[in-house]
Every structure is written in structure tokens, then in C-alpha cells.
Subunit: 241 residues, 6 copies
């Protein structure tokens, strides 16, 4: 059975990772998973939030947002409504946790990196694209900080790599990297964040329709691990170029 | 190896489910998982949110909050700060999704049930206690609506039961139903929502320290399924009394 | 003439004061005036608000809130609406003022006590139950602070006791401690806060229907003073146990 | 003993009531109690708030605010802070209740009158000046509505007159109509709202220092009733001119 | 062709500038342009905003607001809505910029002057009246600060004078100082802020209907310069008295 | 004298207008003025705001925002701060007014077009780039609506073209299209919005340092008119391709 866009069940959409997109940010990546495009900007500042001062440890956090017309129908701006929605909050927190999983805060020193992930165009999988792109922006920001001597010589703040992918059960079949149309029809939806060595940082599975059983869960995890391994390759290739 | 409070690794804390706690709500349950106490009130109103009108289908949603001194140090009120925090948003959404997984909206008809889950005292596992208690409050609210003829004769809005439990890896060992002290020290933390027949509604696993591997994930899922089965029993017993 | 619930005009509802309700707070009281139940938690922190620093004097303040389904029909959460309503503001301020009337700030030293009064179930008189319960929680919190040596030896921050009761004219007759049904029908409604020696800390009388004359006002004050004396007894008994 | 400004204990400050201050409002009064100046504008609109539609009854409400430099030191604007403070809320509600006490809602018909009371200069007693001035603005607005035939012929929405004054115990002595300097030093502070026939609409007494006894309360009420009688005279004179 | 109120095309409305209106503010001016009345209060405080500390330079800023019934139909309070509207923001910023154009920040020293411009009655031209009145309040506040020795002897913070006027094309004809009725019908609307020597601080022209050509723009600027010269005279006269 | 980036005084930066940037919006343009890049998305919806219903006329409005790291140092998100800043408000309103100047609302019919202008990278002139790009997006959106028959056959909602450019006096010399570095050093800053036939829609000139005289103003207007004529050409070329 072929998918809406002709892919096989375990095939990612075309992935592009464009570094140095913006001239201002210390790391700036425009990542695309098919038609999903997210601009990931990493901002480095000396110092840490108040509750962390004097610990000698750094901090990494994320903020996610969508442009109002990133989607098929226009959504109101959260700045105009005067508050951030639950989904935005949730994804921002997820991005921060995911990146902190590969950071050695002592090695980072009392510096803060904020990862702004702004969805310019959405077609499913915006949070997983955001994490995957943000990792590359973070790596560039860390290199910048090393060059600027904000980080001690020989300190290696990055302890690994991290990427993320969505998987789901659509029409009874487990699929990798759902586009929007598939996502809407999915019975089960799962986002998985993995390190480059294939371990899990975050697993979030949700039954949208019927509850799912252990075998289905296992099938989805298998797919996700495979997908993340490919994304890890794409990240390495981008950083090597 | 015995736990802080003398439990075995796969043992729940003492669970109590007190129905009819408040005289006003259509379903009102004070649930406790050890020292964690959550008041779950179900409010039934005729009608549905605007976007659902005319569909013939009902709606179920949840709101989670903590009293300011439910925890060891006092937290500011979200009403005073003027906005809801990310964690509150996230848990409220999780409660709603979990309960909607066992609801037949057609059978519910154009009625809305809101589950207010207010944590009176927190000692770890507040979200899982909230889901477990809210299900019982929801069942009572549905019975009330059936008696009041808000729901059609013979319609059965509840398609199953649902409960939730936390699991985690502490000191390298997988443990069931973490109390606060264990939760703080957990390397991996997972919340699992299951239906009474042992299938999954939601799986949320997070590496707090080291990423976790597939074997660890499998061990945690095994524990959680066992725990939910016991909670399912406690719910049935409470509803039968 | 007998009242809705069989009481005489000058009779309080059954009063219970349960100390040590929550394990976290320095003082924790679940107070009930009939079906009205309020959880009063006292939180002690070292230090005072900025405007009071360096004065050697402490501070006591109150925050009042209702759970959304404390009442017969569900109210929206103030945290969700993003702002605190006028009634909540007013009662929070009243609680703070009432307790500060029996505090010697010099003796308290630069410590702050926050009294959180959360209405779990409402049936009229929530603000008066809150003040009455909060006093007992405050007394426990002060004892705790004395034990912890946060307060100087021999310093006695409490200069007296304080309690509160509602009175009102219903069907032309002055009644003590109105329940919700009576409150709704009252022509005049008054909340009175007294010290244990029978003096007034606060008198707030409002004509809901017809304005009231001096004789009616005098009758209500007589009733309130009697009621507060009984509440003072209940507080002392609770603190003695 | 003479007061700061040379008045006797039972003497009001010079009272002026200037009608027709603004050309836009249906009733517009600039009231002054000594150096306290409040602009009271009454706005009449056809229709009532949603919860009152179809009842045939009108509504009257009040909004109180202070210009940022009405006081000796500048206060932040509540619009800039993004929320209304507790004191503002409390006084707005008091103004609304006070005026509704002399309104026959049936006679008013489904019309709404909003009384905006903006303090241009503050020197104590702003809420009592606001109520006293707002009554006159309301009376003018009702006359306007009668002329415009928004109110049925012969319907008399005003059932009486209402005014307000502050009293307090300063240096052990009960004083009428406190100016700011007296207010700051008052041991007990009371605001009393009376109808023209000398009955009470609202009595709000607060011990700022020592609790007060029944004799002191009685003395304050006597003073307040006298003061309101004089204010009632000033209102009638103004409306007659 | 004569105007609605009988003025010629290049004639200002009657201008009054009343100094010392409020007793609290360091500079307090009630300015009127015809029926437009704006209270301009200048508040001086020692110190500057955080971002300016240690520079030795002062700061001047403005805040503009309208009373809810300053206009023909009542507007909601921005404090009640919980946010400031775009128009308010825009005018507040314009007032601040206009006054800063005639301030020598070094001479002012690390002091801040806030100009609160509250529209008590609106009939067109509220922002230009506000700027014109605020300048006089600022001049008084500077004098006060000089007397209080907050400003160094011989330092002259004011480098010039500033006033503002509106001009517009109504029915094809360029008019000076539009009243509300003219403003509503204007095809082009322009606000011009000038210094006393006839140079421009701010020019804001907007086509409300048809775009305007260079000749029309020139005609409007000519009118505005003339109007500002007259306002400058009125300011000087007021400050001299 | 040559400029920072080698341009002559009356030379625009390289201008690019990329249509069809996003697949979702009815008109989508990525416009760049040198390093300033703004994504302008036009969203068409049937219907108009409440206050315009039943008039047979459409509506066009704009919303402007900057990504947090569009600038050299990261700015907080307005959604996180919970309110929109004055500058954002001001520019959003300017964009709306500018585009409405070339719209025939009757011809548009009861349809609404929202222009979202999100600055992806800022280097001066973001508002003028936004207006220039938004016009092209609006033109595409109107064509789309014509094809979809949302607009009546033969109706021509666009009555002209509109573009905008900044001009300013830097080091005493009038310059066209300031980049950020020039903007910061400008003594006078002006934004001019012109129609394709060279008339003015909006003129906003501000003295940042010294006030400017009539000759300087005239010089700036001359430059701006020339610049807009070139931008008009770029727009036409883009729409023709």
C-alpha cells in the first residue's frame, strides 16, 4: 500500500537542513520535513536565570511558535490573544527537555542558549522538525561560544546528538513521519526523541481513536528508531559540510 | 532492596477513592494515592461548545490545578499571576484526552462534562491520581445524567474504564507509583494511561538524566500495566459500593 | 418561627475545626460552618515584602479562592480567565486585615505568613468561616515559628484572637450565620469580625433590598457579637486539644 | 481641639457639586469634598447585560478609577499594569451597590446606566465623594432618559436619594469627613452610605489600629448620619438649581 | 466659506492654558482647544529607568489616556479590558518623543519626568492639545526641580519650546485645528509638532480618503506652522503670568 | 560621499519580491530590502467584522510582528510577555491603513483580507518592506478571490498600487532606504507611503536629534517619491512574471 505522497511506510519525507539562514543568530537553521519548514535560531547570552546563578552551570531552553498563516486556515496570534495556548506551551517545554538531554551544563558554564523554533509553514511533524533543526542550531551556537572563549578550552558541552520523528497508525498501518493529512486520520500518534546512539529521550504516544496495544506500540517504536537514525545522519552530514 | 516507604518495586501506595465528597457536583471523588490527595469534581451541563453545536455529539474536558500550599513550599496562584503555567496546561489537556478515550460522544448527546481536578495535597503522581479519580467522578456524572434523562434511554456513553499510574527508574531500578522523593531522584519518569482491558491511551516517558534504552522502556511498561490493572480494580470496587 | 434547617434565629450551624489537615503547611485547618468547608493553610517564610525590609517588622496576608465547583453551578477558574474578580479581591483583603488586627509585627520579626483560604464547598458564610479557620492556622504557624526559633524567645506575635460571622435580616427577622438559601433571600447582609474580648475589627453591612434603620443595625450587631463569642470558644477548644 | 484644617469634629469640608461639567455624558458632575475632586459621568444606553435580557428590568453599575497623579506620589496606571487592583474593584462595586439601593429597576426599564467616577485630585474620602456626586449624575441621567422617552411616562426609577461620608477615630476622637492626613492617622475608619431619610445602605467600619468597641461604633454612626443629612441637602440644592 | 463653528480656515479654536490645576503634581496644566480638555500632570522623580542608570542623563516620557466618557459614546476602560489599545500606545509614544526633542538630558541629570495627559473631554485634536499642554507642565516641573536643587545650578534642561496642532483637508479645503465633526469628514488628516523657532519635530500625515499630492501637503504644512506659532505665543503668555 | 554599503544617497538596496512563498496563504510574498526579509501572507475569509456586517463592504487589515531573533540581540516574544508593544501596534495599524488606501471596499464585497507581515530578519526599513511586500500579496489574494468567485465578476477591488520607503538625514545628508546602521545614526527619520501615481498615503517624519526645517523636509520627500517609484516598478515586474 502506498501513501498519499507515494512514500513507503518507513520512509521519511525529503529532509533539508540549511545552516546560517539568518545573519544575526549564533546558530540559525531552516529545517524542512517535506512541506513543513521551521526556522530554528539559537541565541547565546552570558549568564543564567536567577535560580541558577552561582552554580557554575549553564541553561538551555526552547520556545516554539507558529506564524498565523503557517497552517491552512489562519490562526489568531497568541500575542494578540494575550496568552500562550496549551499546545504551544507543551511543545516549547518538549524542545527544551530534548536538547537539555545532550548538554553537559558544567561544560557549558554559566551561559544560556535559547532555541527559538518558529514554524513558517506547517504540514505535520512541526515539533519533531523543530527538535531536529534546533539540535543543529545548538551545535553551531556551541561552536560559536567556543570560538568566542565563552566556554572553557577543551570543555565539550554537547554529550551526544538528538533528533525526533513522529510515527502513527493510519488505517491500521504504522507509518513513519506523518504529513498533515495522515496525522489528521491517525488512530494513534506518537512523537519519539532519540539520541544518536538509539536511546530514548522522550516517548509520547496518544490514542486518538481506539487505545493501542503493546504490539502496536512496539511496531511504532521500531519505526521511530529507524527514522531517528536517518535524521541523525542528515544532521551529521549538514554539520560536516 | 526496599523503598523509602517500605514498598516493593511493583507495589502501589495505599489507594482510596471516596465518592460523593462534595454535595454540589454531579460526580465528586476525593482520590488519594498515599499522601497525594486530589478532589475530582464532574460538572454536567446541557449543550456543547460552539464549534460542536448541531453535531449531536457531546464533549468532555478536564482542568487541573494545585492549591498554592499543596506542595512543600508555597507556589504563587496562577490566578494572581494572571496566566496558567505550561505544566498546568499540559496536565489539563492530558486529563481531557484520557477521559475522552472512553467516551462515545454520540451516546453522550449534546452534553458537556467538565472534570475539575484540584490537588489538595501533593506527594508525587498528582496527574495519575487525577485521571484515576476523574474517571470515577465521570462515571457518577454519567449515571446522574441518565437518571435526569439528559441522555437517551439505553445510551451508554462510557465505552470502557481508564486509569493512570507513574513509573520510573530510580537508582537503576524500575519502580511503580513514585512518591515525591522518588520522583525527584528518578532518572527516567513515565506516566501511563491504560484502559481496563490493558491497552494504552497515553504513554509519556521522559529521560530526566541519562537517555533510556528499549529494555528499560519495556520494563517500565510492564510495571505500569500491572499497576493500572490494580487501579482498575479499585475503581470498580468503589463504583460497586 | 424556625429556620430552613431547623435552627433558632441566634444559633450557629455545626462548627468543626480540624487542625493539621495538610502535612506541608506550617498551619493547616479544615474549617466547616455547616456545609461550608474551607481549607486554611498558613505558610511561613523568612523575610518580608520589599517595602517592609529593614523595619524589623513582619507581615501577614491572605488569599481567598473558590474551587470552580464549590458552588451549585460551576464557575470559571480565575486563572483561566486571566484575572481575579472583584469579590475575590475584596475577601482576600478582608482576611488579611482581620488577621493583622491581632498581630504584633515587631514580635513577629521579619517573617511573612500567608493564609491561603480555599473554599472546597460553599453554602454561605465562606468569608467568615475562612477568617475563623485562618486564625487557628495562624496560631499553629506562629507556634511552629517559635519552635524553629524564627521568632525571638518570649516574643508573642499574637495579641488576641479573632473570628467572624455573618448576620442578616431575612423575612424581617435578624438571623445568625446565614446558609446560602437564607443569604440569597436576605434583605440586609452583614459580616462582622470580632476579637475574643468582643470588640470589632470589621463591620460590613449591606442593604440588599430595603435600606436598614439603626434599630435593625443594632439587633444585627448584638447577634454577631454573640456568635463570635461562641466561635471564639470553638477556636480555643480546638487549639487546646 | 481643632482639626488640621480648623474644622470642628462634626464639620464637613466645603462641598461643591457642579452639574453639566462634560457636554457628552447624560449626567456629568464634578463633585468636591475639600481638595478631593471626582468627575462623575453617567452614561445611559438602551439594553441591559445579557443575563438580564427579557426581564423588563434595567441595570445600574459603577466604575471607579484614579488618575495616576491624583495622589501625592504618582501611581502606575492600571491599564498599563494590565489589571485592576483590589481597592479599585472594591470601590467600583460599592458605588454600584449604593446607587442600585435607590433604583426601581422595573421603572427604569431595560436601560443601563454606568456611573464613571474618576478621581482627578485625591485628599481623602474619594469613594464617598464619588457616591455623593454619582447620585446627582444619575438623577440627571434619569431625567434625560425621561425626556428622550426611553423610560415610560410616569415611571419613577429613583426611589430615594443616597449620599456617603467617611468618619473615623483620630487621636481618640470621632471625626467627620476625614481628609488624607487624618485618614492616614485614623485608628478606626468607617464609610457610611445613607438614604435621604437617614437609613443605611452600607456600613463599612475597619479597625486600622486597635479594635473598636460598641460605644465608639455608635459615636461614629451618629456623626455619619449627621454628615449624610447635610450632603443630602447639598444634593437637593444642586438638583433644584 | 465658513466652518461649522464659524471659524476661518486658518483660525485656531479658543485656547486656554490653566497652570497649577492639581495641587499634587510638580507641573499641572488643564489645556483646552475649544471643547477638547486635557489634564496634563508632570511628575518628577529622582532616578532613571534601569537601562539609563549611571549615564548621568535624565528621561522624559508620556502617557496618554481618555476617560471612558470623554467621547460622545462611552468607551470601555483599558484597565478593565486588561490591555492598552494601539491608538493609546501610539499617542503616548508621540507625546514622549515630542517633549524629548526639547530636552537636554545631561542638564536634566538623572531625573525622570512623566507627563500624564488625560483627556477629560474630547472634541478633536486631543493629542495636539496634550502635547501643547504637556510642554507647559514640563516647564513648571523643571522649574520646581531647579528650586529643589534636583537639577544643578545653571543647568537648563529645556532647549526650546514645543507645541502641536492638527490640520486637514475637509471638502477640498485645508483647515487648521479640526474639531471632531471636521476630523470625521477629513479626506486628509495631519498632526504637526513644531518647536518655537518653526522647525519640525514630527509630521504625521494620513490620507483618510484619496491620497494627497505635494501641493496639498505643502498647503497643510503652511497652515500648521502658522498654528504652532500662535500656540507658542499662548504657551509663553501662560508661563509668563 | 559613499554610504556604509557603498550605495549612493538616492539608491535603494537590492530589492527582491518572491511570490508564492507559502503554499497555504492566498497571497504569499517573501520581500527583501537588502538584508531585511519580511514574509507577507494574505489570508482571505468570507465575511467581515461585526461592525461592518450588512454594509456590502469588505475589510483589509494588517498584523506586523518580528521573530525574537530577527534582530541582533534577541527580544522577548510578545506572546510570552502577554501583550503587544507600542511599536508593533503602531506598525500594524500603518500597514492596514496603507493598503486600505488602494481598496474599493464595495468592489471587495463582504470579504476580509488579513495581511500578516512577519519579519524574519531585520536590517532597517522593516515596515516599509512589509507594506511593499504586502501590496503584492494582497494583489495575489484579490486575484485568488476573483477566480473563486468570492468577488463579483468585473469588480476591481484594487484602485491603485502602494509601496513605502524610509528616508532620513544622516550626517547632514538625506539618504534613501536606510539600513539599520544608518537608521541608528539618523538625525531625522521619515517613512513615506506612496501610490503608484506618486501621491502620498502616509508621511511620518520624526526628528531623532535636532528638529528639521522645511528645506530638509522637502529634500526627504523628493528622495522618497523617487524611491517609491522604483519600488512600484519592482512590484509591477513581480506581478507580471
Amino acid at each position: 500500500m502506498s501513501r498519499i505522497d507515494g512514500r513507503t511506510a518507513d520512509q521519511l519525507r525529503p529532509i533539508t537542513i540549511e545552516r546560517g539562514w539568518s545573519k544575526h543568530a549564533e546558530g540559525s537553521v531552516l529545517v524542512s520535513f517535506g512541506d513543513t519548514r521551521v526556522l530554528c535560531n539559537a541565541s547565546v547570552t552570558e549568564g543564567v536565570p536567577r535560580w541558577r546563578k552561582g552554580t557554575g552551570e549553564g541553561w538551555v531552553t526552547g520556545e516554539y511558535a507558529m506564524l498565523p498563516r503557517a497552517t491552512n486556515t489562519r490562526g489568531d496570534r497568541e500575542s494578540v490573544r494575550g496568552k500562550i495556548g496549551g499546545r504551544t506551551h507543551e511543545i516549547s517545554r518538549l524542545i527544551g527537555r530534548s536538547l537539555r538531554a545532550v548538554i553537559d551544563f558544567k561544560a557549558l558554564g554559566e551561559n544560556t542558549v535559547v532555541l527559538d523554533c518558529d514554524v513558517l509553514q506547517a504540514d505535520g511533524g512541526t515539533r519533531t522538525a523543530a527538535i531536529t533543526g534546533a539540535y543543529v542550531a545548538l551545535a553551531d551556537a556551541v561552536s560559536w561560544a567556543q570560538e568566542k572563549k565563552l566556554i572553557k578550552a577543551k570543555a565539550q558541552p554537547l554529550t551526544g546528538t538528538v533528533s525526533a520523528v513522529s510515527v502513527g497508525i493510519v488505517g491500521g498501518e504504522p507509518l513513519l513521519d506523518l504529513c498533515y493529512e495522515e496525522d489528521v486520520r491517525a488512530e494513534t500518534d506518537m512523537n519519539v526523541v532519540c539520541t544518536g546512539d538509539g536511546r530514548f529521550v522522550e516517548v509520547q504516544g496518544t490514542a486518538e481513536g481506539q487505545p493501542f496495544d503493546r504490539a502496536e506500540l512496539d511496531g511504532l517504536l521500531d519505526l521511530a528508531v529507524k527514522g531517528c537514525a536517518q535524521l541523525d545522519g542528515a544532521q551529521r552530514q549538514s554539520l560536516a559540510s
